[in-house]
Amino acid sequence: MSETDVMQKVVTILTPYAKNPEALAQVALSTHILEDLKVNSARLVDVVLAFEDEFGIEIADDDVDAVNTVGDAVRLISAKLS
């Protein structure tokens, strides 16, 4: 799966949680999930579960701690897939 495909799926998963539609409309790899998209930090565990389900991977808690931007998520998922 290309990074572009992963990015698309990550954004789809983040969409219902994002409270800032403007930032979502201009989403890029550098977009910060909490600060820009205004995702409630408590919901990150739900986002991670959705990543696991969508891509058929397992994400350890330590890996989650290193995810701040959309790009972090895309790179983490792509690495797990390869």
Binding site: T15, P16, Y17, A18, K19, N40, A42, R43, L44, V45, D46, L49
Partner: protein
């Protein structure tokens, strides 16, 4: 401080109508919301009928955003729909999510009897038992914590006053109104969303079915299953939904130019102490009478001023004793007994939501000058035959009705009663 308190908004999610307008039509027509629930047969229930609001999910999806919907079980959806309707019915604006202003003078007492059993039964227990608790994600706690419903509403409406969830079994919704009344009267709040909510789940109803307090006699005729005051009453019909009143200080209502639907004259709550015939599952009649009398005293009206009763009346063997308690507390003979109706005859027993939904019905009846039909008791119970003339089998038009009294009596021997009056300056 002892300020007057009025109702400026109502919201309802009932088995026979979602929204005040649909609910009022159903009340006037005596339309039942009780239906066959096939899933109950597969689960081995004796009672296969229930009153479940239809279309609440679609309604919730239309007015709440994706993030809000993520953590809403049926109890949350019902409570939020009714609370937002009551808020907007009062002419208040629902704030946007990114507005920072908080209404520090507005709060909520929104109760529930059992709570988020669908979330517990479908997710928390199975996933925990399977060693997959991580799969619960972040949304389990807020759906199973008892205060989840009032907390959710506070977030939708930016409430900044007391926000709490009371729980007193089947008197919950009525108790919430009595509590909110006190808070506004005493000057600690200007606006309180008060009422009750109950989700729709077999897990909520299973224990009642095991106790054999739910009817098994009308599975082939759902609309005839809920039979309060009837000789053939065979237990209650489980139900779900929510009913919420927006209580407001008279001063605030007048200042805003709000439309006033009714005045809350008084309220009372008590417990029979599980003595004198009372128990975990039965009311002490002395407690019931004292609660009704205390509500009248709080309202500063004489018993003879009561024009109509919306009873607790669940369609169990307790109905005739309840009528006796009303007669004693209101000092009425069968000849002078006022019209008495059971909203549960139309929707079943919505447990923690019952008092909220039935109080909305009471406000609508006061405003509209009618008492809705109490259906399915053509065969009035022999013990209350003398009171038969007070039971409206058809819509009873009462343009001069000024005072209606509503009570709820719950497991735990707890009682709640409120007195509502037609609004007059």
């Amino acid at each position: 401080m002892n300020r007057r308190v009025v109702v400026t908004g109502i919201g309802v999610v009932a088995p026979n109508g979602i929204g005040a307008a649909a609910f009022e039509s159903a009340l006037r027509e005596g339309r039942s919301g009780v239906r066959l629930v096939p899933a109950l047969r597969e689960l081995g229930f004796g009672c296969l009928v229930a009153g479940v609001p239809e279309g609440a999910e679609r309604r919730a999806e239309a007015i709440f955003d994706a993030d809000q919907l993520l953590a809403m079980n049926s109890n949350h959806r019902f409570a939020c729909l009714a609370a937002v309707e009551a808020w907007e019915d009062a002419g208040l604006r629902r704030p946007a999510n990114d507005e920072d202003a908080v209404d520090w003078a507005a709060g909520a007492v929104l109760g529930t009897g059992i709570g988020g059993m669908d979330t517990i039964g479908e997710r928390v227990v199975p996933l925990t038992d399977a060693g997959k608790l991580r799969r619960l994600g972040s949304t389990a706690v807020e759906q199973v914590m008892a205060s989840g419903i009032s907390a959710r509403v506070a977030g939708l409406l930016a409430l900044g006053n007391q926000v709490t969830t009371n729980s007193s079994a089947c008197s919950t919704g009525t108790e919430a109104i009595a509590e909110g009344l006190e808070r506004i009267r005493s000057g600690r709040a200007e606006r309180m969303l008060c009422g009750g909510s109950e989700g729709a789940s077999p897990y909520t109803w299973a224990g009642f079915d095991a106790m054999r307090v739910m009817t098994r006699a009308s599975n082939d005729a759902p609309e005839r299953a809920s039979r309060p005051m009837s000789a053939s009453a065979a237990g209650f019909v489980p139900a779900a939904g929510a009913g919420v009143l927006l209580l407001e200080s008279l001063g605030s209502a007048l200042e805003r130019g709000a439309t006033i639907r009714a005045e809350v004259l008084g309220g009372a709550v008590n417990c029979g102490g599980h003595r004198g015939g009372g128990s975990m599952t039965a009311p002490n009649p002395d407690g019931v009478r004292r609660c009704i009398r205390a509500a009248l005293g709080d309202a500063r009206i004489e018993p003879r001023a009561v024009d109509a009763i919306n009873g607790h009346l669940t369609a169990t063997g307790a109905d005739p004793r309840e009528i006796g308690s009303w007669a004693a507390a209101l000092e009425r003979s069968p000849a002078t007994f006022p019209p008495i109706t059971s909203t549960k005859s139309l929707i079943g027993h919505a447990l923690g939501a019952a008092g909220g939904i039935e109080s909305v019905a009471s406000v609508l009846m006061l405003q509209g000058g009618f008492v809705h039909p109490s259906i399915n008791c053509e065969d009035v119970h022999a013990d209350i035959a003398a009171f038969a003339a007070s039971i409206p089998h058809e819509l009873r038009v009462m343009p001069d009705m000024r005072v209606i009294i509503k009570a709820g009596f719950g497991f735990g021997d707890v009682n709640a009663c409120v007195v509502l009056r037609k609004w007059e300056r």
